[in-house]
């Protein structure tokens, strides 16, 4: 099993958010989690990425034969986990290019791979940016600073394509995107998809799943998965909403 979440319960500030959640993802699979506002989708994404604000009450997560709770935030990233943020943080003064260069090399170092030099990295970045329709000038700017909502999401996908993760978690990547941007972003995701990596896509709407075809769709309500199946569930939700699952 690539990612195995067993009976996970999590709380924050005395409020239980995840309640006995179970989820298994195999290598090469695309999973989608759909659920109403406040059901715990983003909490799950943050807990997987290692955000320290949450208290783990119960459960286990295994990722690539590691106990995920033994790894800190950066070790999870270096092991191949990537979270595309719902609200990417603006960091003025931190230039995108050296930041991403440093990020890719920290991963390569952990994998005992040779670090990528400045020139090769610049070429890689330029080509990936071009694939995503990102203007080269944007690469001279500070991380997410002054970006529009769509630019921020596109930039998250650029980071994902550079870091080439084993498990990418996309937290409502479709929110704030117009239809053209949605196409570019989803094409970027589809290009990255191989039989060796997996995706966990968190979304409210079926629209995103028209462009990225999931192998499994899960419905999340009150912090646990209440139904799992194929794409037909997404269509069902689009038609009837989440009411009947609650």
């Amino acid at each position: 099993m690539f990612l195995e979440i067993k009976d996970l319960s999590v709380k924050i500030e005395n409020k239980n958010i995840l309640n006995g959640l179970n989820l298994n993802i195999n290598k090469g699979e695309v999973h989608a989690i759909m659920g109403p506002n406040g059901c715990g989708k983003s909490t799950l994404a943050n807990v997987l990425a290692g955000k320290e604000d949450y208290e783990i009450l119960n459960g286990k997560i295994n990722f690539k034969d590691n106990d995920l709770f033994d790894l800190n935030i950066e070790e999870r990233a270096q092991e191949g986990m990537f979270l595309a943020f719902q609200y990417p943080v603006e960091i003025p003064g931190v230039n995108i290019t050296p930041f991403l260069h440093s990020a890719i090399n920290s991963k390569r170092k952990r994998m005992n791979e040779e670090e990528i030099d400045n020139l090769s990295f610049a070429k890689l970045l330029k080509s990936k940016a071009s694939d995503l329709g990102i203007n080269i000038d944007m690469l001279k700017r500070s991380v997410n600073t002054g970006f529009s909502g769509g630019e921020k999401k596109r930039y998250e996908i650029l980071q994902m394509s550079i870091l080439n993760p084993d498990l990418a978690i996309l937290d409502e990547t479709d929110s704030g995107l117009d239809i053209d941007a949605l196409k570019i972003v989803t094409e970027g995701v589809n290009k990255l998809k191989t039989k060796n990596n997996s995706f966990l896509i968190i979304t409210h709407y079926q629209k995103l799943l028209d462009y990225i075809k999931p192998d499994h769709v899960h419905v999340m309500v009150n912090g646990s998965i209440v139904k799992s199946g194929g794409s037909e569930i997404a269509a069902e939700i689009e038609k009837d909403g989440f009411q009947k699952f609650q």
Binding site: I73, F82, F85, V89, G93
Partner: protein, 408 residues
């Protein structure tokens, strides 16, 4: 030893002690010390400081054996070695350097902008034992680097410098303070900018923990002149940076910037006071502090806009990053505006490093310490990237790396 006894015992070594007017002025100052009840609540020169340590001191001064001025005419660069606050006289067609004169002292003592209850300024006048005057002659464009050296332990340097930029001149002045001995430097710079002149004044402060540095400066800008002050304080010892600025003629400008990097139990006190006294003048103040461990800082910023100073632009900004729960930064920006056609603003933000930004960077594989350091660097990136002198930029970067190496 109390102030009066200290003065009487050492007055033979103090500049201008035979001059009647100066003697009278000093007697008044002694009375201020005798009568002042040291109003710690309202007196900004007393915040975060134990004045007693600076009043009860053993006066000790050594006249330096060697000082120097070296000029490189080809590049218009002059290097000055200021030893115990003194510097050799020098003259060429571009600059003139002399000892400080009693006229300069009188000129200063009549100034009303500097608060009469600034005890460090008063101590400077009372025990004045060194200083020099630099005149940049009309229409010249030069660079000066001053290395300020204190030769021995236990010295008390009370230094007053006068810097005059004549009409149309331009000066880039780098003042370096890197003292490693147990001593105190109390330095007052009186700066005058004549019409259409410019002074870019950089102060690099990097003293060891046993050296106290008290710097105060006062600039006066005439028509179309600009005074730019940039302070980089990496000192491990106490530093005070106070600047008083007067924009007295149309279209003059004061641009004041300070960055301080504190750790351990260190303290830094900062103050700016800008007076807009003519139309169409601009002032900009940006002060940023990074505070670790149990360090403390204050920043008092005042902008006064006189009723005649229409079309004024005056901005104040202070920001602080606290790297420890035990560090503290007190910031108080103030605007007093008596003209009605002005653009003025002030702002202040102080807080710990942004945890969400740390999480974001770590989620891309950066270690916590690397993320913290990159965010500290980014906090002052704008100010550091605006340094257009490569050599100085490298010096500051090197000191920043040293400071960051101690951040855990």
């Amino acid at each position: 030893m109390n102030i009066q006894d200290n003065y009487l015992k050492n007055k033979e070594n103090i500049f201008f002690s035979q001059n009647k007017d100066i003697k009278n002025h000093r007697e008044k100052l002694i009375n201020i010390f005798k009568n002042d009840k040291f109003d710690r609540k309202n007196n900004e020169s007393l915040k975060n400081i134990n004045l007693k340590n600076f009043i009860d001191f053993n006066y000790k001064y050594l006249i330096p054996e060697e000082t120097s001025v070296i000029n490189n005419n080809q590049e218009n660069i002059y290097s000055i070695l200021s030893v115990n606050g003194q510097c050799s006289s020098f003259k060429d067609e571009k600059i003139e350097i002399t000892k400080i004169l009693k006229e300069d002292y009188n000129d200063f003592s009549k100034n009303n902008t500097i608060e009469k209850n600034d005890h460090f300024v008063n101590l400077n006048s009372l025990f004045l034992n060194s200083g020099f005057k630099i005149v940049i002659k009309k229409n010249n464009n030069i660079k000066i680097k001053i290395s300020n050296i204190v030769t021995d332990d236990d010295l008390t340097i009370f230094q007053k410098n006068s810097i005059i930029c004549e009409e149309g001149s331009s000066l880039s002045l780098v003042d370096e303070y890197e003292n490693k001995n147990n001593s105190t430097s109390n330095i007052f710079n009186v700066i005058k900018l004549e019409k259409n002149s410019q002074l870019n004044h950089f102060l690099i402060q990097d003293n060891s923990s046993n050296h106290n540095l008290i710097t105060t400066s006062h600039s006066t800008c005439k028509k179309d002149s600009t005074y730019i002050q940039k302070v980089y304080n990496f000192s491990e010892g106490y530093v005070r940076n106070f600047h008083y600025s007067e924009l007295i003629e149309i279209n003059s400008e004061a641009d004041l910037q300070g960055i301080f990097f504190l750790k351990d139990n260190n303290t830094s006190n900062n103050k700016t006071f800008v007076k807009h006294l003519a139309e169409d003048c601009k002032s900009n103040q940006v002060y940023k502090g990074i505070l670790n461990d149990r360090s403390k800082a204050t920043y008092f910023s005042n902008t006064y806009v006189d009723q005649v100073a229409q079309k004024t632009e005056g901005y104040q900004l202070s920001k602080g990053v606290l790297l420890s729960d035990n560090a503290s930064y007190f910031s108080k920006p103030e605007l007093k505006i008596y003209a009605d056609d002005v653009k003025c603003s002030h702002g202040s933000t102080i807080g710990p490093i942004d945890e969400n930004a740390i999480f974001y960077l770590r989620s891309r594989g950066m270690s916590k310490i690397a993320a913290t350091k990159i965010l500290i660097s980014s906090f002052i990136n704008e100010e550091l990237s605006s340094i257009d002198d490569d050599q100085m930029s490298q010096i500051i970067q090197k000191k920043l790396v040293r400071y960051l190496s101690k951040v855990k």
